[in-house]
Symmetry: C2
Subunit: 383 residues, 2 copies
Amino acid sequence: MPGFVNAHTHVPMAAFRGACEDVRDRLLRYIFPMERELVTPELVYWSSLFSLTEMSRSGTTAFADMYYFEHEVAKATAAIGMRGLLGETVLGQPAPDSKEPYGGLEYARRFIATWKGHDLIQPCIAPHAPYTVDFSGLERVRDEAEYSGVDIMMHIAETEPEHRQFSASHGSVLKYLDSIEGFLSPRLLAVHMIYLDESDIELAAARGFRVAHCPASNAKSGRPICPAWRMIQAGIPLGLATDGPLSGNGMDLQGVLNIYPKMQKVREGRRELLPAAEALRAATMGGAQALGLGTEIGSLEKGKRADFIVVDTEDFNMQPIYDWNAAVVFGMRPHNVESVFVGGRQIVAEGRTLLVDQDEIMSEMRKLREKCASFIARLTYPS
Amino acid sequence: MPGFVNAHTHVPMAAFRGACEDVRDRLLRYIFPMERELVTPELVYWSSLFSLTEMSRSGTTAFADMYYFEHEVAKATAAIGMRGLLGETVLGQPAPDSKEPYGGLEYARRFIATWKGHDLIQPCIAPHAPYTVDFSGLERVRDEAEYSGVDIMMHIAETEPEHRQFSASHGSVLKYLDSIEGFLSPRLLAVHMIYLDESDIELAAARGFRVAHCPASNAKSGRPICPAWRMIQAGIPLGLATDGPLSGNGMDLQGVLNIYPKMQKVREGRRELLPAAEALRAATMGGAQALGLGTEIGSLEKGKRADFIVVDTEDFNMQPIYDWNAAVVFGMRPHNVESVFVGGRQIVAEGRTLLVDQDEIMSEMRKLREKCASFIARLTYPS
């Protein structure tokens, strides 16, 4: 079958996975301080390879990512042989790779110049969110993306305070962003998109941008259920995503695929809605479209890149099979993936990575964990 | 760690898994006709062994089950070496193992006499639901359970029509059941319990019965989110469950454990609610209490039975570990289970069953699938 496409991740955050779980105001109180103290190019490189190992072994062939030191993510992606739409984060405050606000813009320029035209890597630019990058910052991002001919990737309508802030000022987050001329365009990959009313969905469809839907991560944060099915009905290209390892934990797309149609059925109160074949589409073709690669990957068709996986359907959890889509959507687990090919090149065989040494990656992760643990313990248990 | 306890299943339905997915009115239009045509003692035995293979290999050591020909389920359970609370279904209509309504009562009597006192099997009696067993039928079930000293297991407050019917007549399903003297008692394991208001939760707590919560199966049916966290706050013993392979598909408890705290966080809109340690409790000790075995299993303590599993935490999906509970709840997948012990006896080693031949079970399932496929195809695509 076609490889899974993970439409939104922060792969370098694997080193922090499982820390500071189940706490309020996690981003501002825990994650931002942790990142400022601990994120280095070395952490980003090895931690990315760690996530990508879990992802590729569970059948993901392409993904979209935003983080700091994204050059290191690109190196890791090329090393393991996966396909990535990768965006350097732009923040209106100091970040791990920039002491100046908006330093990410300068980094993004160099990053794009370095990777543009690479066979596996599509560089882009990733403003963090409407509440961390201001109006003029978003205008600069838009200009930079247009000038370089790259995509924009941003968290949109993800949090309740963001929703309240922009509803009060502009009617909704999306209407605020639409007040920035040309910002809502087919160039945009909008991530999360939870707080939307019907007029926002119409606006999104009219502007022609793409959406990454993170049902497991959103639920873990206690957010309302995203109107994903309604966006699909409106014709919006929508891909499934894990989100980062700190937000969604498991980096296999099976866990997300299992939860996605269920939560939509709950939201709409209809068991027949989003049947398995349609659900699976979001994890393959929908993801390809979210990455802007709908004509190149996402399905097994003549003329497309050979991004595919071989699944061992003979294990108990996938049998019996009356309906292949249901077996994949509800039954498949990461260990069923036997081998993985990207662009015709095999990158996983019998559950092991072929182009990178996964034992070395695990060993580097152990060192990173030791470096992070004492700082994280102080954050988790404040005095 | 202690083995997982699956508080509600219909293990013999594995032969039908993946058929007739994502359709309206599934139980009455598809499942009941399929069962009347296809369910035989032979199907029940092999199909149970099939589910139990998937369950034990993914770390489940004990479970509760209700179906027809439950004697065959008990044989399969004893053969694979698992622990089961097993109830013969009672229906007020003809059933696969009885041409007469309420024939399950007679079967249950023999079943209880055969298995009572067995080290691994606790027989009980399982009226299907308030809308399929009438008032006097439930009185007979209550009398039989009291006479035999066994538990009662029943689907309660699961469906919208049931909720409407008994809300109109008695205020709620639970209030209707409370009008049957002595029916709501500590002897009862109530399954689903979705449609409850605060007064129902108070009533359930006051009557002292136990609950099996099936978040993945309920969501797949598009039902509202069960107030599981609220029941736990009220002191009601609550265990996690997959439900049957046709309703929940995956029979590993990891898939359910992954979805359970997330859906409760969504329901209550609070990310800090039901932290990993508490979520894990429902899959172990909560399940043990649901089965009425809280003093015997569910935790690793001196004096309890040695029902435990060995987990390989060295794989990428479980690392790094800052918080063991988070690693298990959000990160663990079925393939991480290395070995499984029930009552001190090893039943799974290196992912393979030790007491039954899993290749033979798979081969029998292939034959069952062939027998079922043509009938199911006619049901799935009505002319």
